[in-house]
Amino acid sequence: MHIQIRPILAALRRHKAGTLLIALQIALTLAIVCNALFIIHQRLANLSAASGVDEANVFVIANMWADLDRSTEQVDAQVRADLLALRQLPAVRNATPASGYPLRGGGWDNFVTMTPEQVKPTTDAAVYTGDEHFLDTLGLKLVAGRNFRPDEVMVMGTQQAITPPTAIVSQALADRLFPDGNALGKSFYAMGTAPSTIVGIVDPLHRQGVDQWSNGYAGQALIWPLRADDERGIYYIVRAKPGQLADAMREAPKALYAQNRLRIIDPVDGIQDYATIRHKVYDRDRGMAILMSVISVVLLAITAAGIVGLTSFWVGQRRKQIGVRRALGARQRDILAYFLTENFLISATGVVLGAVLAVAFNLWTVTRFEMSHMSMAYVGIGVVALLLLGQGAVLAPALRASRVSPVEATRSV
């Protein structure tokens, strides 16, 4: 089928304003939809980031102390008694003290250097503390080295700075510090006066926070063998036996209160399972993804409706002209092809302009909003989607045009 482009261009020249408006609308839609898709994809990728935790069976208790005038030794004795009580529960597999947990939404992190004199830090790592039960309680996978021994676990009081001589690090941190591999047995400094030697490597282990600034340090975490006996409170991370999460979550606070009543476990969010923790920490990302999806869908719908509206108007205006063409021998499919081609030409102009706008908008968000650079694949997907959308939208009016009878040519002139 041979399509005459020149007459189409000639006709478009007579509808400059309308043509430009559709092209502009397609361009703007493309620019916004590409960037929205990019944002959606980024945020969804966050949502499914692996934590390394056995999320189906693990929950966290935020335990606050009601009496503040106790010594670190007294607090530590209570913490050890609490852990013993938790581990003895029938539905509980293991429990550990902690100062934070993966996906908590922020917490302790230290700069890491290779020497104590080093001025510019090598990297930044999330800091976890726990005893020899930490790995098993969270369900972390030890890929090299060994777990902490009970005698390595040290006690850390409120605002005390203690640097244990041993540490277990995440694979991501090991790779960053020692790119040649074999990090095991090597040491690093994490804002302390003494070094810590790597005795084990786990993979994966998510950081506590999910903020944008920490994206450059993704998955970099270290675990120190410490019971952080802050006089204010402590986290107990508990792993239930498979399928007994609900039982364990019900029994655990009762067991703790039976140990000592002078504690405060918030009735609303004092005990959280990992489904809740994950849901909360990614709420902002999920909200953004939903909003961007809605904006994209509505935008595409409006653009499609705009194309249908304008093309319908053009078809109505040109009924006579179409009738004449039909009378002169043009087939229905020629008329159909005419309108489809016309739309394609307009859309093509729009998407070229739109691709430029999309990239420009992305570059602007990179400078203003710390976004990353968008891959051209998103622009490609957007271009294809908008060209298809244009063809789809124009189909109904074009079909109506193709059904114009040749008799129209003779009417009302």
């Binding site: 304003a17 309308g18 408006l21 559709i22 502009l24 609308q25 703007l28 839609t29 620019a31 916004i32 960037n35 929205a36 944002i39 606050m64 102390w65 009601a66 009496d67 503040l68 005038d69 104590p116 001025v119 009081g157 409120t158 605002q159 005390q160 700075a161 400094y189 804002m191 302390g192 006066t193 944008q212 802050d230 006089e231 204010r232 405060i264 918030d266 909360k280 709420d283 902002r284 909200g287 953004m288 909003l291 961007m292 904006i295 509505v298 935008l299 409006i302 653009t303 409706a305 705009g306 509206g309 304008l310 319908s312 108007f313 053009w314 908008f361 968000t365 909003f369 710390e370 976004m371």
Partner: protein
């Protein structure tokens, strides 16, 4: 005349219901989306203390060691306990307050209530006068009380409701963390947003329930909240190990200065102080001071989440597409009526009259779109309020934003109608009459 045009407009809009609905919907959706995001932005970037914020300043000095010093680096965002105390005692401003956030366990007498933690602020006396904090009963403590480590507490209205059923509790005692405190005052509802005086505890929707004298809280080793930034290796405690060391910043210091001249003088004082400390060997860096007023401080910290700003920009892009769409549809609609307009021209209507008629028609569409947009904005804000972000509960449409919505909707649709109306009003009457 306007009545007649209005009548014509309604008739014309009724003639093509689908097209009209499409235009109204496009404007409504565009306005709804941009008003929702704009309202969130407006609420989050508001002035927490209108009328007072220009006189409140946040001094910053740089006590860090020389390691890693680069020209142009900002001083730390908080102060050390030593510097805060020094600046406080220097009394170089009209009012000054040194403070830190914390949490304290409240142990009610009533056995019906279990002990519970509340967010607290440990501060010096000027806090209440400086920030215009409203009192329901009683008042704050004085600078002399600060030095005397007095066991006084000011509680928020909400806590007073919970503990004393809203009665005037001034003079009564309250057990906090094992120590008896005298209630000196009860605040009326006071919810500054953002939580400007300490952004490290979260910027929005964070309210302390108990206010305690700083020295008293430190003496009792009450737990602190918020962030510490330390430098150098190794940290020991200041007060029996309960608080960050002298190489950590963790307190906020605010001053009130009633004129720019006073502010300039205070800046000079900060430079002098830094030089003195350097001469004493405590500071290692050249004087590096900042004195921002409240709004500059919020701006510097970028308290408005970048997601919210990005959403506002995207929503306005969205509105732009909706407008372009409406321009196209209006163009089609007006041009289709060339015949009718030609007849009106031939019968003596001026070009200006046609323009007025068509613009009124687009204003009708704009008003309808504005109403729809407003409804959508209410719905959008309702959705925002049901998210769990810290600012969700604050987002409400106020009268100013309501007016902005309507002005935006009508001016947007008039703008969208301008090109099509102008184009259509240019019809040559003779040509239109001939071809029909």
């Amino acid at each position: 005349m306007i009545g007649y045009y209005l009548n014509l407009a309604l008739r014309s809009l009724k003639r093509n219901k689908v097209l009209t609905a499409l235009m109204v919907l496009a404007i409504a959706v565009g306005i709804g989306a941009s008003m929702t995001t704009l309202t969130v932005l407006h609420v989050l970037s508001g002035d927490p203390l209108p009328g007072k914020s220009g006189e409140l300043y946040y001094p910053q000095i740089d006590p860090q060691d020389a390691r890693g010093m680069m020209p142009g680096t900002m001083p730390p965002e908080q102060v050390t306990l030593i510097d805060g105390t020094n600046l406080l005692r220097a009394r170089q401003a009209d009012r000054q307050a040194l403070m830190a956030g914390g949490a304290v366990p409240i142990q009610p007498d009533a056995s019906a209530l279990d002990p519970f933690y509340v967010e607290a602020r440990y501060t010096t006396a000027d806090f209440f006068a400086m920030f215009d904090v409203p009192f329901l009963y009683g008042h704050g403590w004085t600078g002399i009380d600060d030095e005397a480590h007095v066991r006084d507490v000011v509680i928020a209205r909400e806590l007073n409701e919970k503990l004393f059923k809203g009665a005037d509790s001034v003079g009564r005692t309250l057990r906090i963390g094992g120590t008896m405190f005298r209630i000196a005052g009860v605040l009326d509802s006071w919810r500054p947003n953002p939580h400007f005086y300490d952004l490290t505890t979260g910027s929005y929707n964070y309210y302390e329930q108990a206010f305690l004298p700083l020295q008293t809280a430190l003496e009792l080793r009450f737990a602190k909240n918020g962030s510490n930034d330390c430098w150098g290796n190794g940290t020991g405690g200041v007060v029996g190990g309960a608080y960050p060391s002298a190489t950590c910043v963790w307190l906020q210091f605010w001053v009130e200065l009633d004129s720019p001249a006073r502010a300039a003088a205070y800046r000079q004082f900060l430079v002098r102080y830094s030089e003195e400390q350097k001469a004493l060997g405590r500071f290692q860096r050249a004087p590096n001071v900042q004195l921002r007023n409240l709004m500059q401080w919020l701006d510097h910290n970028g308290v408005v989440p970048s997601d919210v700003r990005l959403q506002a920009w995207l929503a306005f892009g969205f509105l732009l597409v909706c407008l372009v769409n409406t321009v196209g549809l209006m163009l089609a609609k007006f041009l289709r009526r060339s015949g009718e307009l030609g007849v009106r021209r031939a019968l003596g209507a001026s070009r200006r009259a046609l323009l007025a008629q068509l613009l009124i028609e687009s204003a009708v569409v704009g008003t309808a779109g504005g109403i729809g947009g407003l409804l959508l904005a209410f719905f959008g804000l309702w959705l925002v309020r049901h998210r769990s972000s810290d600012y969700a509960a604050l987002v409400h449409l106020d009268a100013a934003m309501l007016l902005v919505t309507f002005a935006l909707a009508i001016s947007a649709s008039l703008l969208a109608g301008l090109l099509p109306a102008w184009r259509a009003s240019k019809v040559a009457p003779a040509l239109q009459l001939k071809s029909n």
